[in-house]
Every structure is written in C-alpha cells, then in structure tokens.
C-alpha cells in the first residue's frame, strides 16, 4: 500500500471555500496534505484520520512581512503550510479548538476584505483580458471569412463563456457577503 498519493484538482479563483473542504475531507479520510505545486498538483501522505480545519488567506502584502504574518497565526494555533499563487495555507485540528469551530476570520467585514483582495489581485487581470483581448478578438475574427479565423472565433467564444462563468461565480458570493455586511452596519 502506497503511503503517499498525488491528485490533480482544479479550483477556480472564487472557489477557495471548496478547496478548504476538499483538504479537510482528505485529512478525515486519512490523507494529510503535504504540498501543492505545479499546475494544481496536490500531494498527500497517509495519516491517522483526523478532523482538521484548513483555511486559505489571500494577502499578497503579507509576503513582504512573512515572518510576523506567520507568527500571528502560529500564536493562535494555526500551522502555516505554504504559499501558492498568493494564497497562504493554514490548518488547525478541531481537537485543539475549545468547543466551537474556529476560522481564520471572525467577522464578515474581514471576510469581505479578503474577497476584495482576491478581486484586485486575481480578477482585475482577468477583466482586463476579457475586455481588451477576448471581446475585440471575437469582433475582429467574426469579420474575416476564412477557416482559421472561424476556429479562432470559436476559441474566443469558448473563452468568453468560461470567463463569464468565472465572473458570475465570483460575483454571486461576493454580493451575498457584501449585503450581509452592509445590513449588519448601523
């Protein structure tokens, strides 16, 4: 029986909650997360099944002051695992939390702040590509009448749909958080 395994999983930009539960599920099934590298390659090693909460933070500013950033999480009992594409990975066993389940954010306002950081760090480059490359290409290729342009046109139309899906997948939870935070404010 092998003691390590590798899985390739793709989580799109707004899906960090899904990724967190994926890692937690793996640990519950006796697979402890070791690393994430390359193109979404997750490595695990066999372990005692345990309920461990995994959390992701996106805070590119913190990379410059990594020591104090990691120290603050460590003080609060969170183990720092690694950085991947601007995301920091943390975990803490449920048995080490007293009673209630902990998260690295305890307020909607700071959950919303993280979404804003993801938006400016990851979504703005996509929006720029969308409006400055994909849409102009669809318009341009649509005007030229030869097979090469037609296949390019199909390619960019597919990209159009993928990007649109990403924007919607990001906008819906963002909007929900945004509303809940604003309703809580006086």
């Amino acid at each position: 029986m092998k003691d390590t395994k590798t899985e390739i999983r793709f989580f799109s930009i707004p899906e960090w909650k899904k990724e967190e539960s994926y890692l937690r599920e793996q640990h519950k099934n006796g697979w402890e997360f070791i690393s994430l590298s390359g193109l979404c390659v997750y490595r695990f090693k066999r372990c005692e099944p345990k309920d461990v909460v995994y959390q992701l933070d996106y805070n590119p500013d913190s990379l410059a002051k990594k020591n104090e950033y990691v120290q603050m999480f460590r003080d609060c009992g969170w183990e720092y695992l690694q950085n991947y594409a601007g995301y920091s990975y943390f975990r803490k066993a449920v048995s080490e939390m007293d009673g209630s389940e902990e998260e690295i954010f305890c307020e909607d306002a700071s959950r919303l702040d993280m979404m804003k950081r993801v938006f400016s760090g990851r979504m703005i480059p996509l929006l720029v590509t969308f409006f400055l490359v994909i849409i102009p290409q669809i318009i341009m290729q649509g005007r030229i009448d030869d097979p090469a342009s037609q296949s390019l046109m199909v390619f960019f139309c597919i990209m159009f749909v993928i990007y649109l899906g990403l924007f919607i997948a990001f906008a819906v939870p963002f909007w929900k958080y945004y509303r809940s935070v604003h309703n809580n404010r006086r």
């Binding site: 104090e68 999480f73 969170w78 700071s110 702040d113």
Partner: protein, 93 residues
Amino acid sequence: MTETGFYILLCLREEAHGYSIVKKTEQLTQGEIKISPGTLYGSLSKMEKDGLIQFIREEENRKIYCITKLGTQVLDLEMKRIERLYRSMQEAK
C-alpha cells in the same frame, strides 16, 4: 467600528502585540470573543494606515503597537456611544 476594532483600541491603551490582544479580549469577555488571526492581521494593518494605532517596536517577529491620539479620540467617542446605548436600554426596561 467593528467589535474587533473596538477591542484592539481598548487593549492598545497599553503597548501590546497581536496575540496579547487576543488573550486580553478573551479574558475581558470570559472567552466569548476570540479574535481570529486573519481578522486581527487585517484590522491592525488597516488601523495603522488610518493612524489609529502606531507601531512601536518588534520583538521575536511580533509587532508591538500602541494607540495614537486620534485612536484615543475615536475610542472615547465609541465608549460614549455605547454608554448611551446602555442607558437607553436600561430606561426602556
């Protein structure tokens, strides 16, 4: 002001680092409020940028902060607001 923001200002009337704010808040609230590190890190950076708190020195990778004059004014206003809320609550009973 968020609850975390209020407790940070309250604790930083004396010099302190992040984790000691978490501990002190837990004591003050009998364990009811446990500030999480992600929220704490974000709030401290933001409040420092806004001039409510200032960085004093670093000890073993832990930044030590203290409240500023502006922070004290903001905290006083917030305390008065909460006192007023509390008084109204008592009177409405």
